[in-house]
Subunit: 223 residues, 2 copies
DNA sequence: TAGATTGTTAATCGATTAACAATC
DNA sequence: TAGATTGTTAATCGATTAACAATC
C-alpha cells in the first residue's frame, strides 16, 4: 500500500534527470538549499510543477528556504532506482553501439554495460572502450551466467525483432531499443524506445508550429 | 485559419513515425489498403487512437476496407514536413556525433547533415561517412553561406550551453540537443532534447513498476 | 512581524477512450 | 443484405495549473 500501483507519473519521471543534473551542479558550487522557484526558473518550468514533482520523492521543504539539495539528489536517485547499478548488455557493435558503450554518463544512471555482442566475426575479441565484444552465439550463456536483466539493442532495424526475441528467450526482462523498429514482444517484457525519428518528428512539428504562429502574429501586426 | 494555432497533438506526432515505418513495410509487401484495426494491432495501440491520429493528416478512409496505404504515407510525410529535405549541421565529431553523421535513416526524415564542426584540430579535414568536418571557427561563415536552420548538438555537456549560444548567434532556428544538459536559450529558438538519461529513467520506472505490480499480483494469488 | 515559499485541495486543460450513427 | 470499419460527438482519465491556508 505504501507505493501505489500506478506509481509516479511518467512526465514527472522524465523531468527527474534534469532536476538531478542541476542539483548536482548546485552542490558542486557549494550550495546547500534551493527553492522550487529557482529550479523552475532555471529549467523553464512552473514552480508549482517542480513542487508537485518533488513531492513524489517524499522530500519535504522548508517554507521560505526551500529544499536541502543533497537530500533531494539522494531522493531522486532512489526514486529512479539509480542507487544500485544494473548490469546491461549491448547488442550491436556498430557506430551507435560503439558510442553507447563509450558513453560516460551511464555511471550516474546506475547502468553498466558489461559486454557487447555482434554478428560480425571481425569484431569478436575487440573492445569498445572498456566493453568486450563477443559473438552473438555466446549471448545465452553470458546472460545466464551473469544474471543480466537489461539488453540495449543497437542493431539495424531489419534484425531488431529477431534479435529482441533472442534476448527475451534468454530471459532478458527489459530492452532499451535504439533500432528504428517497433518491437512486438510479450507483455511481460519492458520495452523502452529511443527513436531518432520520433524525436526529430517532434522537432519538425515544433519548427512548423513556430513558423505558423509567427506568420499569424505577423499578419496580426498588419491589422 | 486552415491550420490551427496549436496544431496536431505532440503524442500524435510521436506516433507518426511508427505508422510510417509500418506502412512502408506494407507497401513493400505489395499491399494497397490497410485498416486502423490492423495498424493498431501491429503497434499495440487502440484502433480508435489510430483513427484519431490518421484524421489529423486529413486522409479519409473507406468503411469496411480502410485507408489507401500510399496516400497515408504521403499524408504523414507531408504533415511532418518531411517532404522537402532540410539541411542541418552537426556540432561535435566525437563518438555520438560520428554515429549520427553516418546514420542512414535521416534521409527518410527529410534531414540531411551537410557538415560537421569540432574544436579538435586533428579532425579538421576528415570525414564522418560523407560528412566533412570543419573547424568551429568556420561555423558562422558556413551557416550564413549555406542557409542552414538546424543544428545537431553532440558536444560534451560542459560545452553544450556555450556552443548552443554560438549557434543561436549565427542564426540557427532549431537545435537538436544530444548533450545531457538543459539549454537556456531565447524563446524563439526551438530546442528538442534527445536525452539518454530521460529515456533510461522511463525504462527504470517501468521496470520498477512492473516488479511492484508482479509482487502485488503475487501476494494476491496467495489470498 | 512581513513576506516568500511550501503543500494541499480544487479547477482546468488536453489526450484517450467509449458510444454510436453512417457507410461501403 | 450483414457486418466490419469509418468518423463524430461525448465521457473519462490523467497531468498541469490555480487558489490558498500553513509556516518558517
Amino acid at each position: 500500500m505504501e507505493e501505489s500501483n500506478r506509481g509516479i507519473p511518467i512526465p514527472t519521471i522524465k523531468r527527474f534527470p534534469s532536476y538531478l543534473r542541476l542539483l548536482k551542479q548546485y552542490l558542486e558550487e557549494g550550495k546547500e538549499m534551493v527553492s522550487a522557484t529557482t529550479l523552475a526558473e532555471e529549467l523553464g518550468l512552473k514552480p508549482i510543477q517542480v513542487r508537485k514533482d518533488i513531492s513524489c520523492t517524499g522530500i519535504e521543504g522548508k517554507p521560505k528556504v526551500g529544499f536541502t539539495i543533497i537530500r533531494l539528489i539522494e531522493a531522486i536517485i532512489h526514486t529512479l532506482g539509480w542507487d544500485n547499478a544494473t548490469d546491461a548488455i549491448l547488442i550491436g557493435a556498430g557506430h551507435l553501439g560503439s558510442a553507447l558503450a563509450r558513453y560516460e554518463g551511464f555511471d550516474s544512471y546506475g547502468l553498466k554495460i558489461v559486454a557487447a555482442f555482434d554478428i560480425d566475426q571481425g569484431k569478436w575479441g575487440s573492445r569498445l572502450g572498456d566493453v568486450p565484444v563477443y559473438s552473438l552465439a555466446d549471448l545465452q550463456d553470458y546472460i545466464k551466467a551473469n544474471h543480466v536483466n537489461i539488453g540495449v539493442l543497437a542493431v539495424p532495424a531489419a534484425q531488431a525483432q529477431e534479435t529482441a526475441e533472442i534476448l527475451v528467450s534468454c530471459g532478458i526482462l527489459a530492452i532499451w531499443n535504439f533500432a528504428p523498429k517497433d518491437l512486438k514482444l510479450p507483455e511481460r517484457v519492458v520495452v523502452q524506445r529511443t527513436d531518432l525519428a520520433t524525436s526529430f518528428a517532434v522537432l519538425s512539428a515544433k519548427v512548423k508550429r513556430k513558423i505558423a504562429n509567427e506568420d499569424l502574429t505577423g499578419e496580426a501586426d498588419e491589422w
